[in-house]
Symmetry: D2
Subunit: 149 residues, 4 copies
């Protein structure tokens, strides 16, 4: 079976419960063998990376900046781009499905770009816009994100 | 005084009243001497381009594809990018303020990217998300977009 | 007849004779009605822009940075990208043919990307690599660049 | 010690001896623990990926297209971009040093972009341009690429 890629998108500033959810999503994706893609810094990306790394998963951070400075320490592969917010498209392009946690304009741009590219978006305590699959728990988010691939 | 750049963002499929609004926005921006930036194809971009061109304005279309095929005939400058939806960032990056008309995931991505870059977004019959400046008419949209520069 | 787009590529640090050539190329392209595309800063881009603007031509600068700061004052349209050197691809993508003047790694990347995209490159005192059309004068460069469209 | 990233750049059409060299470079980089970055398709990228994968190394392919179709089967992580040749910048941006093998315009663009970004380029039977570090063997290329980090 080919590898599954799932993006975990969310803001760098998140609530404790959003960070807990991101960590749990990372753990569950890694256990299932999926590759986790995210923005590579702190906040939701950092927590998802931490969870995935704790389970020995592969985590790819696609960074906004042209260097690796400030990226979280849990990434298997850290890719500086120097593309600023255009890297948001790369994150969702690399993913077959997207789990969005928390708010922030960057997160909303990833949600919109993912939907524009026809990737399903599983929404866990995030922006309330039509066209997303609202889920209640990390377990449900991961199960449905993997089924969607 | 240096030139002002205003992006007009909106879906390729739009209602007649949205197209009328886009055309009027284009006309008013051109009369004020602003450079109009948009996605360069039909729909809201096409109507805004048509309006601006009718007033002798400068219109820049930043195209999704690697060729100029399918771009509207009203563009002063048509720029193929081959970057797909990443060109949405280029549109808002080039603008000091953004007028959003109508819906569509591409439009929502432009709204979110614009706000992420701290550009004010003037919302004329578009997505209902917090953080936008809701306006009622093309006149109000253009007046406020120009004041915001 | 549709508009012709010609890129003028060259280093920010150029010799006086390279700058003279760039200025003359800009003038000749503008007189022929072609749209000049370049990197938008000083050096070869600045001189080509100055020449084209002096003849009332349209000049598009596709900037490396996310702001217009440092762009030359002769641009009809200045487009900040924030894409760094990836904007080099946008410059050659927008052009049907390329005139390269002077050296510099950025210029070589534009030459290579242009050839990769099958754009003819007219080489006026630039890198000596196989596969370019070597020309001797601005007049010859412009004549052949326009014929190639 | 933090991970080292080395790009292996080369054409999709390569001679048997270039492919052998790429395979050996991949093997040696993986044995040293470096992460190999390349364009992800066949030719030099495919051979370098094959060599690295045979030694259990981590290989990242940054793809030109918007899907994974046509990517080689040896990649640990395959990243579709849809950015066309702009992904060449991402390959060299991700690398601390670059090993170039064989010719092709894409390869020359990567060489030029790498030098523009001040990455050392180790040249193994590739374009003959000033400013590269010419090496004779895969062993020398890898040794010097790793020392350069």
């Amino acid at each position: 079976m080919s590898k599954r890629y799932v993006a975990v998108c969310g803001a760098s500033e998140a609530t404790p419960s959003q960070l807990d959810a991101a960590r749990e999503v990372g753990r569950l994706l890694a256990r299932s063998g999926a590759i986790v893609v995210n923005g590579g810094y702190a906040g939701v990306s950092g927590a998802a990376s931490e969870g995935a790394a704790a389970e020995g998963g592969t985590v790819v951070g696609i960074l906004r900046e042209a260097t690796r400075e400030g990226s979280n320490p849990h990434l298997t592969v850290a890719l500086p781009t120097g593309f600023g917010e255009a890297r948001n498209l790369l994150i969702v392009m690399a993913a077959e499905s997207v789990i969005a946690i928390g708010r922030g304009w960057g997160t909303l741009s990833e949600i919109a770009l993912a939907r524009r590219l026809d990737r399903p978006v599983f929404a866990l305590d995030t922006w309330d816009v039509d066209g997303l699959e609202v889920v209640k728990t990390p377990v449900e988010a991961v199960r449905r994100a993997l089924e969607a691939n």
